[in-house]
């Protein structure tokens, strides 16, 4: 007879307010096999754990049921605790009476009844628990960082500095991301390029970092410690091995197309570097606008190139590499406000800019060399309206969330206008001003004192009247309608996840939240991990944030990667599938359903009566199996069992609930 200990947690009042804990304990004591039952305010706390350990010692318990929060929360905590006892860490069952009971019910009597049943099920399952022992797998000591913005660069540098190899992948022809586009950064107003380009150069020159620009992930297999990632390097049509980046080709190219780096505020040739400080500092050809590649005519760049780097026959190339850890640093994009806000003109007026366009406009290396002028006529604006929360905090047309950085860069934009064009009237339309960062409130304060006029109210309509942009809104503090005749309007638009995030997340099996940001493993305690082992998060791929937070987040992700890569091997969960050969008919249903390609059919010698035959049976690769249990459900003969969740255990649970 097993000796089960049942421990019911109050979780402060989280459980105890809705579940009668004493009654649950009393009822547990009556269950077959239960040798001891007790309760405590916080089971996961030090004294709570000590209480369990003492009870194991005192009553000679050989398995444990803890009725508390979700196993996602503290199963590992309690397994770790059992390592110091005689009980095998897998002789543990968690009855989730918080998320699946107290948090979702209000009727105490019924909730208590449900909790009692959940405990009864766990006790029944525990009676059939068997000791399991973890094995280990080797770890490939290389990391892949996806996305070469400031988050990716920071994570790559930190991992590389710790002595591990890093591949830094970027789909654009240069690393640098959004930060390279910015002019000054709040709240210190240091020049964005001055602080980010040295980091770009460091990343490009670091012996442990390999840059994979113009590259995209196309496929991935494997698991933590051993990801096999297939990468496509898009054709550059320029041989970077010999190109010196002299730039002659760029000056001779006859094509002029919209510069994506300047957000359409200027033109660039078809053979181009993304921006002057690009890393690598070598051009690529844009196949969509190049005359040679689209129409077969031209070929000027090939003629002028002194080193013969141009290769119009270049093709996309795929290659596969193995990595022990993955960092998502895929960043953000600005919401396409033109499709959403007809009341703001839907993009019809050239003197309405997004925040990023304004960054380029005010940037000394931008299309106007930093002169703040109207794109339509090159005139300096006398009145500028800055509109916040365009697409943010707008569940109907845009996103329900706050994009976090806009309040500060709106203040920065106002400051820059007032600094460069003294005497300009700057109106900032806001709903709330949010400045929770070091030095942020002081910056907002200074901007106001500098003369920026903050108007509390969301702009309702923007239209053109003569050469003015009329902004209609309400000054909600006065309760009066206001009309600002602006020469230029800056829309501080919402951040949204980068395009392609859906495919990438699906490839790695990483979850996304309702807004398509990557879901972190735990919002407070595991902010840089995902639910998929070995896949980490850096920066805005997880949600909107500013540069200081992004860099901190990226360094945190790097620390997690480093602590993983520092181990030569890692423990794997012993809760994997096992095949009972004699019951397997070799149908292959499990092979088809396995999402991790962990099951293959292998041929064995067998005997049917007196005849020796060869027949296929299922075989599980313990390195690949993630213990999802899909195969056990698909197996017709019941030949596959998931250790820790054997069919017999599940049936015991069902019996305990129903009988």
């Amino acid at each position: 007879m097993s000796k089960i200990g049942v421990f019911v947690c109050h979780c402060g009042t989280n459980i105890a307010n809705t579940v009668d804990v004493e009654r649950a304990v009393a009822s547990a004591r009556e269950l077959p096999g239960v040798a001891f039952a007790s309760e405590y305010k916080y089971m996961c706390s030090e004294p709570g754990q000590q209480m369990i350990k003492d009870a194991i010692e005192e009553y000679g318990l050989d398995r444990v049921v803890i009725a508390s929060c979700s196993p996602r929360m503290h199963e590992t905590t309690f397994r770790k605790m059992l390592k110091d006892t005689k009980v095998n860490p897998y002789m543990l069952e968690i009855a989730n009476i918080r998320e699946q009971c107290s948090w979702v019910h209000t009727d105490k009597a019924k909730a208590t009844e449900k909790a009692i049943r959940l405990i009864r099920m766990s006790v029944a399952k525990a009676a059939r628990d068997e000791p399991l022992f973890a094995s280990s797998i080797p770890i490939e000591k290389r990391a892949l960082v996806i996305g070469g913005g400031i988050a990716g660069i920071q994570a790559a540098l930190d991992i590389a500095d710790a002595g591990h190899e890093v591949a830094l992948l970027e789909r654009e022809p240069s690393i640098g991301g959004k930060m390279a586009m910015l002019d000054k950064t709040f709240p210190t107003l240091d020049c964005s390029a001055c602080i980010s380009t040295p980091k770009m150069v460091d990343a490009g020159a670091h012996p442990n970092i390999k840059l994979l620009t113009s590259c995209e992930v196309v496929k991935t297999e494997g698991y933590i410690g051993n990801f096999q990632v297939t990468i496509r390097r898009n054709a550059r049509y320029v041989n970077h091995d010999i190109c010196t980046g002299c730039g002659l080709c760029e000056t001779k190219c006859p094509v002029k197309t919209d510069s994506e780096f300047n957000h359409g505020l200027s033109k660039r040739p078809a053979i181009y570097k993304l921006f002057p400080q690009a890393v690598p500092s070598k051009p690529v050809i844009d196949k969509n606008s190049c005359l040679k590649l689209t129409k077969g005519k031209c070929g000027v760049c090939e003629k002028v190139c002194p080193l013969g780097c141009i290769d119009y026959a270049d093709e996309d190339r795929e290659f596969t590499e193995t990595f022990g850890a993955i960092v998502f640093a895929t960043g953000y994009e600005l919401i396409d406000w033109t499709a959403l806000y007809g009341e703001y003109g839907g993009g019809r007026y050239p003197d309405m800019l997004t925040g990023l366009q304004f960054e380029r406009l005010v940037n000394a290396s931008g299309p106007t060399e930093g002169h703040i002028v109207r794109p339509s006529d090159g005139k300096e604006p006398k009145t500028v309206a800055i509109v916040k929360c365009v697409g943010s905090r707008d569940p109907k047309k845009g996103k329900s969330y706050c994009s976090r950085a806009c309040c500060m860069y709106a203040a920065k934009h106002a400051h820059q206008i007032l600094d460069k064009l003294p005497g300009t009237r700057v109106f900032i339309f806001y709903i709330d001003v949010r400045t929770p960062g070091k030095g942020y409130e002081e910056f907002y304060d200074q901007t106001r004192k500098d003369g920026a006029i903050y108007v509390r109210g969301r702009i309702s309509k923007i239209y053109k009247d003569g050469d003015k942009l009329v902004c209609n809104g309400e000054d909600t503090l006065l309760g009066k309608q206001v009309k600002v005749m602006a020469d230029m309007v800056v829309l501080e638009t919402a951040m949204t996840p980068s395009s392609g995030i859906e495919e990438l997340a699906t490839m790695f099996g990483v979850a996304r939240d309702v807004n398509d940001w990557i879901q972190e493993a735990h919002p407070k305690l595991r902010p840089v991990e995902t639910q998929v082992g070995g896949v980490f998060l850096a920066g805005t791929c997880q949600g909107p944030r500013d540069i200081p937070d992004t860099v901190a987040h990226a360094s945190a992700a790097a620390a997690k990667v480093v602590s993983l890569l520092n181990k030569s091997e890692m423990e794997t969960s012993p809760m994997i599938s096992v095949v009972r050969r004699e019951h397997c008919c070799g149908c292959g249903a499990c092979e088809k359903i396995c999402p991790y390609t962990a099951i293959t059919l292998e041929e064995i010698d067998d005997r049917v009566g007196a005849k020796r035959v060869k027949r296929p049976i299922a075989s599980v690769n313990s390195g690949l199996c993630q213990g999802c249990g899909a195969c056990t459900a698909a197996c017709r003969t019941g030949a596959i069992d998931l250790l820790g969740f054997r069919n017999a255990q599940i049936l015991e649970e069902v019996d305990a609930l129903c009988l």
């Binding site: 806000y341 007809g342 003109g345 839907g346 019809r348 239209y463 053109k464 009247d465 003569g466």
Partner: protein
């Protein structure tokens, strides 16, 4: 042949004479049959729903119920934005709100299934085959006529009732106007309220509404405003004396989409009583007809 149960509305019977004549002309040319709803009554705009919810729903629902009873196979068509809004709301409520349906049927003392759709002229003129028909029947081009298409608020809002895809910058009328050779101008007040509802009981307070519409049309280069509602049309015309006095701008002709189409399809000014407009509109149309393609 397309055929609709037709709800003319009160304005169509009096002040909107050119609109009525032009609509008859255009529908005739296009072979669209209009079966006037027998014994129809006022849709209730605007006082009906100011007085009570039941009256606001029952007045339009009575005409709709009569139409569905007499011609159960026909959808309902109207050329007035106010009527459209009231009729369509009654249809929408009868379909989506059981309580409202109950009130409607008890008040009109008739069953009302809301089985047929309520359309406005823009909906019908935008149908692919009707558009083709219009293009075929344009016998003279209104070359280069700079026209500001004014939709009014009630042809497009509220979104859940009208189902209009774009309530800030609608384009259906612009596309139809372009078929005549006229040039729809890009302007910002296509769907702003003209305030016709309060021209009696809050006259001075609501004067600013038509004025800013007229101003935006003119400052964007419009020579004429094209409407899809007799109430909007009347309001935008009648307020021009004050507008001219206040702003020093010129008057601007305002006429309905039907009139524009009728002229392009060959109707004479007299045929559709263009002279009945408060702001003369024949000249600007004649000028466009004389203009050669650039």
């Amino acid at each position: 042949m397309r055929k609709y149960s037709y709800f003319p509305g009160c304005s169509m019977e009096s002040t909107a004479k050119p609109y009525r004549l032009a609509t008859e002309y255009v529908m005739g040319k296009l072979g669209i049959g209009l079966v006037e709803i027998e014994d129809w009554n006022c849709c209730g705009a605007t006082s009906g729903h100011t007085l009570s919810e039941a009256l606001g729903l029952a007045l339009p629902a009575r005409s709709l119920a009569l139409a569905e009873k007499r011609n159960p196979e026909l959808d309902i068509l109207t050329g007035c934005a106010s009527c459209y809004a009231r009729l369509r709301l009654a249809m929408y409520k009868a379909r989506t709100d059981e309580r409202a349906k109950y009130i409607i049927e008890k008040t009109i003392d008739m069953p009302y299934a809301a089985a047929r759709e309520v359309y406005n002229f823009l909906d019908v003129f935008s149908l692919p085959d009707v558009r083709e028909g219009i293009a075929e029947r344009v016998v003279r081009k209104l070359t280069g006529l700079k026209a500001a298409c004014y939709y009014g608020c009630l042809n497009v809002r509220p979104a859940e009732v009208t189902g209009a895809p774009d309530r800030e910058n609608p384009t259906s009328m612009d596309e139809i106007v372009a078929l005549t050779g006229a040039e729809p101008v890009d302007w910002a007040f296509k769907a702003e309220c003209c305030g016709a509802a309060h021209q009696n009981d809050a006259a001075s307070a609501s004067r600013a509404l038509p004025h800013r519409i007229l101003r935006d049309a003119q400052s964007n280069g419009a020579e004429a405003i094209v409407t899809a509602c007799p109430m909007c049309n009347l309001n935008l015309e009648m307020r021009q004396d004050g507008y001219v006095n206040r702003t020093g701008m010129d008057r601007i002709p305002v006429f309905s989409l039907s009139e524009l189409l009728a002229v392009a399809m060959g109707a004479s000014a007299k045929r559709i009583a263009l002279e009945a407009h408060y702001v003369p509109s024949a000249a600007v149309l004649a000028r466009a007809l004389r203009r050669k393609d650039a």
